[in-house]
C-alpha cells in the first residue's frame, strides 16, 4: 500500500530520498567530509573543482564540499528545535484560543494576530540584534516567531473538534479540562499540525539561512549554507560555482520538504484524498 503510493508519485519519492540524504548528512557530515572544513590553505584560494577539492575552494582555500557537508547540521538543528518549540507553544495557544474562557481566548488570539502582522524576518532581525547568535538562541527566536502559524491551525482545528459528540461525551462524564484537551482534542487535531510542522521546518531552514546570509546567524568560521551563499555572492566573478553549490543544496532541501509536506497533507486530509 505504502510503496504503491510512492511509486505512483515519483516527485514525492525523490523528495523523500533528498530529505533522507540531508538528514543522514546532518548526522554524519563531519565523518563524510574529505577535509577539515575550517582548515585554511593559503595556496589554494578560490579554486575551481579539482580532484583534490571536488567542488573547489572558498576565499580561505577551505574545501567547499566539506563545508557543505558540515554546514547543514546547524541549519537542520535550528530548524528542528525551533519547529518543536513552535509546535508546542503554538498548539497550546491555539487550543486555548478555541477552548477556554472567552476573555483568555480573545487575548491569546489577538496576540497571535499582532505577531502575524510582522514579517518573520523583521522579528528575527530584532531578536537576533539583542542576543548573541548561536544555535540555541536562533532556535528559540525562530521557534517563537513560528508560534502564530501553529496557533492559527490548532485553533481552527480545535473549533471543529469541540462540537463533536465525543467531546460532549467527555464533558458529560465530568472530565477535567486537561483530560479533555489531551484525550479528546489533541489526538484529533494532530494531522493538520503534522503538515504544519513540515512546512515550518522548511520555512525555518529558509529563515535561518536568511539570517546567516545577512551575517546574523551561525558565527563564522563555522559554516552554514546561508552564510556560504552570503559570502560567495562577493566572489561571483572569480569563482562562480562557489555560490551555486550551497544555493542548489538549499533550494533542493526546501523544495523536497515542501513536496513531502504537500503529499502528507493530501494523504491525511480526507477531503483532498482522491479515492
Amino acid at each position: 500500500m505504502k510503496t504503491t503510493f510512492l511509486f505512483r508519485r515519483p516527485l514525492v519519492a525523490s523528495s523523500l530520498l533528498v530529505v533522507t540524504v540531508v538528514l543522514a548528512i546532518a548526522l554524519a557530515g563531519p565523518i563524510l567530509a574529505p577535509h577539515d572544513p575550517l582548515a585554511i590553505n593559503q595556496n589554494a584560494v578560490n579554486q575551481a573543482s579539482s580532484t583534490q577539492y571536488l567542488l573547489g575552494t572558498d576565499e580561505f582555500g577551505r574545501d567547499i564540499l566539506s563545508r557543505l557537508l558540515v554546514g547543514i547540521r546547524p541549519t537542520i538543528l535550528v530548524a528542528v528545535i525551533s519547529t518543536i518549540i513552535a509546535a508546542i507553544g503554538g498548539t497550546a495557544c491555539g487550543i486555548a484560543g478555541a477552548y477556554s474562557r472567552p476573555v483568555l481566548a480573545f487575548f491569546v488570539m489577538r496576540g497571535v494576530d499582532i505577531m502575524l502582522s510582522f514579517p518573520a524576518i523583521l522579528l528575527a532581525l530584532l531578536a537576533v540584534g539583542f542576543w548573541r547568535s548561536g544555535v540555541v538562541s536562533l532556535s528559540v527566536v525562530i521557534g517563537i516567531i513560528f508560534i502564530p502559524q501553529f496557533a492559527r491551525v490548532a485553533q481552527s482545528a480545535t473549533l471543529q473538534v469541540i462540537r463533536q459528540e465525543f467531546v460532549e461525551a467527555e464533558h458529560a462524564m465530568g472530565a477535567r479540562y486537561l483530560r479533555v484537551v489531551l484525550r479528546a482534542i489533541l489526538p484529533n487535531i494532530l494531522s493538520p499540525l503534522v503538515v504544519q510542522a513540515t512546512l515550518t521546518i522548511a520555512a525555518a531552514i529558509l529563515l535561518e539561512s536568511g539570517l546567516s546570509f545577512l551575517g546574523l546567524g551561525i558565527v563564522p568560521p563555522e559554516p552554514s549554507w546561508g552564510q556560504m551563499i552570503g559570502t560567495a555572492r562577493g566572489y561571483l566573478s572569480q569563482n562562480p560555482m562557489y555560490v551555486v553549490w550551497p544555493s542548489v543544496c538549499l533550494a533542493l532541501t526546501v523544495l523536497a520538504i515542501n513536496v513531502l509536506g504537500d503529499a502528507l497533507r493530501d494523504h491525511l486530509d480526507p477531503r483532498l484524498r482522491e479515492n
Partner: protein, 509 residues
Amino acid sequence: MKRILQMALAAGLLGLTATSALAGGTLYFGLSGEPSTLDTVIQPGTSGRTVKLAIHRGLVNYGVDGKITPELAESYDISSDAKEVTFHLRKATFHDGSPVTAADVKASLERILDPKGKAAFRNELSIISKIETPDEKTVKLTLSSPSVALVDYLALPESVIVPAAWLAKNADNPTASPIGAGPFKFAGWTRGREIVVKKYDGYYKPGKPDLDEVHYVFYSDENTRVNALKSGDVDIIDYVPAKDAADLEKGPDTELLRNTGPFMGLQFNTKFEPFSKPEVRQAIAYAVDRSVIINTAFNGLGSPIYGIAIPKGYMGYSEAKANYFSHDIEKAKALLAKAGYPNGFEARLLASSQYSFHQNTAIAIQSELAKIGIKVKLDLPDWASRMAKATAADYDFTVLGSLGEITDADWLSNYYYGGDKLVRTNNSPYFNDPQINQLLDKGRATIDKDERAKVYDAFVDRALELSPLVYFMWREQNYAVRKGVTGFTNMPGFLTFQSGLSIENTKVE
C-alpha cells in the same frame, strides 16, 4: 516669421553648446557609508571626511603630493623655539560671501579647544594656550610646550575653518547646513541616499573646481558599490574590496587608484590577564604567518609587517628594526611557556562582520593562533557595535585596521601614549608605560631633525620590546574610477583617507 524661428533655434543651439563646453558636469561618488555627522570637529570616518573636504578648507591641508599646503593661510611662520606659529590669511570667502577673517579662525579653534566639546583632536591641539588676532588677516598661536606636530594637526579635516557668525548660531545644531570656504557648497542631504554639493564660484583657487555638482551616494554594501561602478551608476568608489581590485584594474571601463596606506594588526586589552604580559603579545607576533592573512583576507594584495607600522621614509623607520619579528612557531611557543601559558589559553577576538576584510583577518588569525594553543572565540557584530565595544574596552583583543592620522612622527602618540584617557579607539586599553610616554613627549618637542630621529629610534626599541600593539601587514586602500574621470588622486601613505580633497581637481568627460 520662419526665418526668425530658424534664427532663434540656431541661437538656442549655440547657447546650448556654449554652456555644455563651459560646464564641468556632474560626478557621482559611491561612498562606503553614510556619514554619521558633518560636524567639522568630529572624526566621522572616511566617508564623512570625503564630504567635509569638498565643503571645507583649513588654514593648511595635506596636498595631493602628501605635503602640507597653505590653504586659507597664505603662509605661516614657526618661531625658532617651536612655541609660536603665525598664520597670514589669504583673501578667501565663505559660501555665504563673507570674507575669511582672523576672528573666524579664532572661533573655529576655540570650538575645538572647548573642554566640553566633542572635538576628536582636542588632546593633540590643547597645547595651544593663546590665540591672538593682531589684525584681520593674522592669527598668532602660542603653545604651552613646543610642538613640531601642531601644523600637521591643523591640516586635518577636523581642523577646518568655519564662519564665526555661523558657529554662533549653529554650533549646537547637528542638522544645520554647513558653510565653509571649500570648493563646493553644501546643497542637500537625502538621508539614507546621498549628499549633494554644488560648485562654489568664489573659491580662492582660480579655475577650480571643474565639476558643477558632486553627488556622494551611500553604498554600504561593498558588492553593490563595485557593481554600481561597473554599471556606470557612479564615477568613483572608495574602499575597493581586495577581491575586486584585479577586475577593476583590468577595465576596460574602470581604473584602479592604488595605495598601501593603512595597516592591519591587533590591539590588546592589557587588563585581560595573558595579554598583560609582553611575552604573550610577542608570541602572537611570532605565531601569525602574515602571508595567510594577505592571501586569504586580502586576495594576495598587501605586504607583510614584521616590526612597527612605520612606512618607509617616515621618521622612526629603520631597515634593521623593520624585521624584528619573523614567522617562528617554536619561538612563539617558547615565549608562551615563559609567560606561564605552555598550553595556551582562551581569548575573545573582536572584529566586525560589516567589513569582510576585518572579519576575514579575524578568521585567519584565529586559525594561526590555534597552532600555538590559543583558542580564539570570534565576536563579529556590526561596525557600530564594534566601535561601541572598542570605546568601552569590551574585548580581550581586537583587529586593528587603521593608519596614522598625520604624517609627522607624532602620529604614534595616538597609538602608544598612556596619559589619563587609557581607552581610545586606536590604543591598547590600559597600556601606560612611563618610558614610552616620556619619549613621545620628547619627540614632539624636539626641533632638530637628527636629535628627533634618535628619540624615535629609542621609542621603537621600547615599543617593540613591550609590543602593546602587533602589526601584520600593509593593506591596499584603493579607489576606483570610471574611464574619463581624471584629477582624482589617491593621496600617498597615511593620507589616503583624506583623498577627498582632490575632488577640487577632478574632471569628468
